[in-house]
Symmetry: none
Subunit: 198 residues, 4 copies
DNA sequence: CATGAATGAGTGTTCATTCAT
DNA sequence: TATGAATGAACACTCATTCAT
């Protein structure tokens, strides 16, 4: 009767350790040894659960996204159109510790994606899903008359997501000027601007 | 009789080399040896002019900013108010190879700043200057009646800069959806929105 | 009630697996995990039947020799003297894929033997048996008048076996110049040379 | 005035260290660390003089061959035809410590060549030169009437070189049966056999 | 000043071996 | 007996840094 561990569970343990390190000390500090130590294992264990370091990092990125999606799903339940969109975009802003950590991780991967095709592919795939979701919420809001129909909705989608990402970066780098209240206010203004009367 | 070397000049040579490498091959390719080679010196020379590698990288970041400021000064010459602001923000978007490389450099430093107080300090200082400039151009535009006076100008400043940063990230990571034309269109729409009639 | 496992049988299964890997992929590919997997067991099982990896490799070498001997025994059945000798020496040449793989295995062990007393001992023991067999076939051929009696038969034995080994090496390393036809021709010439008339 | 070392000299130092380890402990023991230590340097030094480990090993092989060629050139000076051939072949037998070491190194590379195209290429190139030399000495001997003209000289070349390699292996693995005197005697018999009267 | 040789810690990865289950 | 999780040392290689010349 062998000692039998749940592989997915163990992977998650290690991936969580990786996430903690990336958030605390940066992507550069996330060496395989550091990850193993943070997870409470010897460095050799990683080989049992991951093909290589990239596998760990990619899993960490995907895991982070999955968490966000889960949280979002709860928040969006029962909401539609503009209200759902607002919830989604607000959730993407680093307004508390948890989401600030998520944004930090994301930023670490951004620059690394520029020189790693595999990472970039994952990044793009996940971003495309988010963009698609925003776009369809906008479409629904337009259909129901919640928002004006003058603007190109693809443009609006891009503008909203860019603004959210920009504000997120600023919140982490320049918290003094990008306070939580200002972020929320700016986002709401942006959404109100879409309404028919505006 | 010691050879009289202009320290600042030599530092600049090396820093330029570092900047070129980061722009061309990314932050991770900027090893001390690669920098020394790019500058045309032996690797040992770095020790005479820099405390350590971080000293070089920080200087490279500042140097990149200085170059941007110089280019901007030329572009802004003779322009005021909204026209100047438009020039400034457009210049910050990665609309050609050169500025795409600059954005890449910037993104590399963003994530490092999150775990390096020294980098973060530099980053903040330079960002504050840019913010101040935008804010004062907006102030001038408001005074001259070029833009409406309803909005809080600090909010507008933050919104514009966040949008520019967000669009920049998207242009690099998702060039398909963030084409040069869309970026320019979105920026112009944002500026027109400020005008009194809007 | 302990499960009653036939130790020798299990050892043989594992050793066969090791042999297959060495023949197929080379000595360096024969890691303990690869061997266990090839045998259809978990890696931990090896500890029950072998002292260590060397124990497995040594056994694999012996196993390969044993197989060669078996094959030879079939080929030699009913033959005596020079005809038997010819069959034996031909069998030792890597004239088909199977025997080329065997020669590769052998060569791998040769160099390891130079720095491993245990391996060397096995190697010598097996080589002695082969030498003895050749020598006695030569003796029989001399007695029956099949070959001339001028030469020292120990010298002839050594010459024939050295030639076979040298040709084998050349066939693997320089197949262009050591084609199968040339090998066979050279061997036959060598045997004919022993005949009384020559 | 920088400390300036002769690169080729330093490479040779390291390559000699590698040779010593390979001969003493086998090719497997020739790790980069072991080589650096044997050479009296830290492990990082290798990077200055070699592209990678293969570069060291290949250099060791070539260096060994170069030494042999040099020694041979001296021995062959003033000799031609059969006498030169005899000197060449004798020199290739491991009849003293130095040449036993050379043979040991060679054998280590043989098996590794089977799974390393780069090594195999070098091995083949060097072997081709030796083969060519033997062949032309045989040609000269035939022209001058020193040897009989019945045999195909390519066959003879292959036979002689295979015999030498086979005897060399046996001398290292089975010194008891492949004594220096027997090797020499067998080689001379082989050469005499070529003479017209034989 | 400048060189570049040298260091040694650190990287990701592999692997024989141990051992609780 | 058999499992496979876990270990930790070893591997080749990279790199910022030091320092004699």
């Amino acid at each position: 009767m062998p000692k039998n561990v749940n592989h997915d569970e163990r992977r998650e343990e290690v991936v969580d350790a990786a996430r903690r390190i990336i958030l605390r000390d940066g992507l550069e500090a996330a060496t395989t040894r550091a990850i193993a130590r943070e997870a409470g294992y010897s460095n050799g264990v990683l080989a049992h659960y991951f093909a290589d370091k990239d596998d760990i990092l990619l899993s960490a990125l995907r895991s982070s996204h999955r968490r966000i999606v889960h949280r979002l799903r709860r928040k969006l339940a029962g909401r539609t159109g503009l209200a759902a969109l607002r919830e989604l975009l607000l959730d993407n802003l680093p307004l508390d510790e948890e989401r600030a950590a998520e944004t930090g991780l994301e930023m670490g991967f951004w620059s690394r994606s520029l020189s790693s095709p595999a990472l970039l592919a994952v990044q793009r795939q996940e971003a495309a899903e988010l963009r698609h979701l925003v776009r369809s919420l906008l479409g629904a809001a337009a259909s129901s008359g919640e928002i004006a129909t003058g603007d190109d909705l693809d443009d609006v989608t891009e503008r909203l997501l860019a603004l959210v990402d920009g504000l997120s970066v600023h919140r982490l780098l320049y918290p003094d000027r990008a306070g939580a209240d200002r972020l929320e206010r700016l986002l709401d203004a942006e959404l109100n601007r879409l309404r028919p009367g505006a």
